[in-house]
């Protein structure tokens, strides 16, 4: 069973941001090959659902993932946290073996 989940605070923020942005069908998560440690996350608003997208719905938010990315992020939880003045989204990805110091890119 493949899955992507959102924490409640992440879902709340995503819904807020989409509402303020005024358009969008959901959130697109994925990976790209780049960065200092192999792979990098993709976190974008989605305006369309592509034909081969997998759609996960959690706390009322649609998360779209392309089939190629899914193996890298399957079982992942997206969280929204605050660190000092900064706040943003965090990927809790069980597939990651090691990441670069900052965690922005990773290896499976």
């Amino acid at each position: 069973m493949m899955s992507i989940t959102l924490t409640e605070s992440a879902a709340q923020r995503v819904a807020d941001f989409i509402a303020k942005r005024g358009k969008g069908v959901g959130l697109r998560l994925g990976v790209r090959t780049s960065g200092c440690s192999g792979m990098a996350y993709k976190l974008e608003f989605a305006d369309h659902i592509e034909a081969d997208d997998l759609v996960f719905t959690d706390h009322g938010v649609s998360v779209l993932v392309d089939p190629k990315s899914l193996p890298y992020i399957d079982g992942m939880e997206l969280d929204f946290t605050r660190e000092g003045l900064n706040e943003g989204f965090k990927f809790n990805n069980p597939n990651v073996k090691d990441a670069c110091g900052c965690g922005e890119s990773f290896n499976v």
Binding site: D47, N86, G88, K90
Partner: protein, 626 residues
């Protein structure tokens, strides 16, 4: 791991390459920084959750300067070292500051820009502003979790080249890359999403703490253009507090108040004004140093009556700005409110009744400029798709031109021309064999050089010697999107050129700009007469020069003694009226000398052609001219 933000579709950035860009509203009283995060523009708060950073810097001995609220609190205790309203001094010389005496500072004598003597040494407005920008930069980098790639910084639409350059210098000093300087009213219009709206003309009414600005913008084909600006650099929310404070004093009829009492009552006046935005009446109670108490009630109605004159004072510049843009009230599609003072219901009502429509007030008027700047920064940083891109146009606040013979100003770019702009005009030499030309760049509305402001001087050298009027010198003016000017001059035949980027000598006040604009109208008639006089003088001088040269060369061999005497007499007559100021007399005498020399000129032409052709056979001639 690093915290991520949601990007627009297809615009996820590579790790460590986030294009973090912010918008900064560098205000006279308060400054703010904002950024687009997760697709939404938001003001970035400090660690205590406060959005505003008071634009106040306090310098200390052997310690870093203190910026913001902490500095503001020390303002009355350490007035010499606590610099407020530095923006008013940006790019200004001490001589430009009309009310310099009313500030508590130890001003230092400096040729270009005002300087303060502080505990940490001599500082100027650029350095003070850099301290403020530096704090905002640190706040932004902590909040966004990375190094800024750049910022859009807003400036008043009427800021001249010197003030814009000073703002850029301050950013550079603070280690901020300036993506673009953006006019404050344009930023406000962007924040309201007017760029997505239908085409039309919008007014931006900006009443801050101490300044009032009105701007008229036109949006067409997704492009913003500032049509006109006006305002009052000495009118703001503080004047409403002051008016109320005076009323309290009149009502209470207390003798001799201590300075502390004054400050206390002023604070109460301000609080009462703010409370009246929500309640129909407020009570003002205070205990003075003497133990006497003040207890009075102020109704909104009374407040409106007290401040009606101030409200009306803002409407006059509005009408002027419309007139400048050649528009009427009916042409305005919408009105944007900027500045904390626009929260006052009496202001909103006056604006609504003048424009015949309710103004836009749903965004926080303190934040709207910073939000718009952030949205623009986001576009310039490449975090949005091209199709949604805006191009922003601003205008030149005053006309730009060069000095021509006789101390006249030839305008090359008229005032209110939309930016960016490039214009060129051809000029020529005034004297035979002239090999250099001095280009004097000026800014202002008047006709005479002495009445305009000098921006730069440079020389074009290496012009090949030619007779007067034969050289073609192309002078081109270019003003970039930030409003900065570069001037180039090129002699078209030889290609020699010279150029200057106007890194302006600082020194022109808002009041001066207003005065210069007004003077341009008031003195229109005098200027016209002065220009007419200078023009005929230059013409006459040129003719006398040419006649003298011709007489020396050919006078004796081509002229009868009668003709010679006639020309000499006409020349002397012209020389005499030239000393006077009657431009019609000079014109008439010039015409006479012209007539007296027509025959002589024709004869000289014949002789010179004959000499040139003499001794050459027909083949040579046809090969030369064929």
């Amino acid at each position: 791991m690093a915290l991520l933000q949601i990007s627009e579709p297809g615009l996820s950035t590579a790790p460590h390459q986030h294009r973090l860009a912010v918008g900064i509203d560098l205000g006279t009283t308060n400054s703010l920084v904002a950024s687009v995060r997760n697709g939404v523009a938001m003001v970035l708060n400090d660690a205590d959750g406060r959005a505003l950073l008071p634009s106040v810097v306090r310098y200390q001995v052997n310690a870093a300067p203190v910026v913001g609220y902490a500095a503001q609190h020390m303002q009355s205790r350490d007035p010499f070292n606590t610099i407020v309203s530095a923006k008013r001094f940006m790019g200004r010389a001490l001589a430009d500051i009309a009310d310099a005496a009313s500030y508590p500072y130890h001003f230092a004598d400096a040729p270009s820009m005002v300087q303060w003597r502080t505990a940490a040494g001599v500082k100027n407005a650029v350095e003070v502003s850099a301290e403020i920008l530096s704090v905002l930069r640190t706040r932004a980098e902590l909040t966004l979790g990375g190094v800024l790639m750049g910022a859009v910084i807003t400036v008043p639409a009427y800021f001249d080249d010197a003030q814009r350059q000073a703002t850029k210098d301050a950013a550079q000093l603070a280690g901020i890359h300036v993506l673009r300087l953006l006019n404050e009213p344009t930023a406000a219009a962007i924040a309201y999403g007017l760029d997505n709206a239908a085409e039309g003309v919008y007014a931006v009414y900006d009443l801050g703490g101490g300044t009032f600005d009105i701007s008229v913008l036109r949006l067409s084909h997704g492009v913003f253009e500032v049509l006109s600006t006006n305002g009052d650099s000495a009118l703001g929310g503080d004047d409403f507090d002051q008016r109320l404070f005076c009323w309290i004093l009149e009502q209470a009829r207390f003798p001799d108040l201590t300075p502390e009492d004054n400050r206390l009552l002023l604070t109460h006046a301000r609080a009462a004004k703010e409370a009246l935005t929500e309640y129909p009446e407020v009570s003002i109670t205070a205990v003075l140093a003497s133990g006497l108490t003040i207890d009075m009630v102020l109704t909104a109605e009374k407040f409106n009556e007290l401040t009606a004159a101030l409200v009306n004072k803002t409407l006059q510049p509005v009408r002027k700005a419309l007139r400048d843009a050649r528009l009427s009230i009916e042409d305005i599609c919408g009105v944007v409110m900027v500045g904390g003072a626009t929260r006052m219901p009496c202001i909103q009502a006056a604006v609504a009744s003048l424009f015949g429509q309710p103004p836009l007030t749903n965004l926080d008027p303190d934040k709207v400029v910073a939000l718009g700047a952030a949205m623009q920064a986001n576009v310039l940083a490449g975090n949005r798709q091209d199709e949604e891109d805006w191009l922003l146009l601003d205008v030149t606040p005053l006309s730009l031109g060069i000095e021509t013979m006789g101390g006249l100003v030839e305008k090359i770019i008229p005032r209110n021309t939309t930016l960016p702009v490039a214009r060129a005009q051809e000029f020529t030499t005034h004297k035979d064999g002239q090999t250099a030309m001095s280009i004097h760049v000026l800014q202002g509305e008047r006709e005479l050089v002495t009445d305009c402001r000098s921006l730069a001087r440079f020389e074009l050298r290496g012009i090949p010697p030619m007779v007067a009027g034969a050289a073609r010198i192309r002078v081109s003016f270019q003003v970039d999107a930030d409003g900065l000017l570069s001037v180039a001059a090129q002699e078209m035949q030889s290609g020699v050129q010279a150029a200057v980027t106007v890194k302006p000598t600082y020194g022109l006040g808002d009041e001066d700009i207003a005065k210069m604009l007004q003077a341009g109208n008031t003195f229109a008639r005098e200027d016209m007469a002065a220009r007419a006089l200078q023009e005929v003088r230059v013409d006459a001088g040129r003719l006398i020069d040419a006649t003298q040269t011709a007489l020396e060369e050919d006078g004796t061999n081509l002229l009868s003694s009668d003709d010679y005497a006639n020309i000499l007499a006409a020349m002397q007559a012209l020389g005499e009226v030239l000393l006077g100021t009657d431009h019609l007399a000079i014109k008439a005498a010039t015409e006479k000398l012209n007539q007296a020399t027509t025959e002589f000129a024709a004869r000289r032409m014949d002789t010179h052609v004959r000499q040139a052709l003499a001794g050459q056979n027909l083949d040579e001639i046809s090969s030369k001219f064929g």
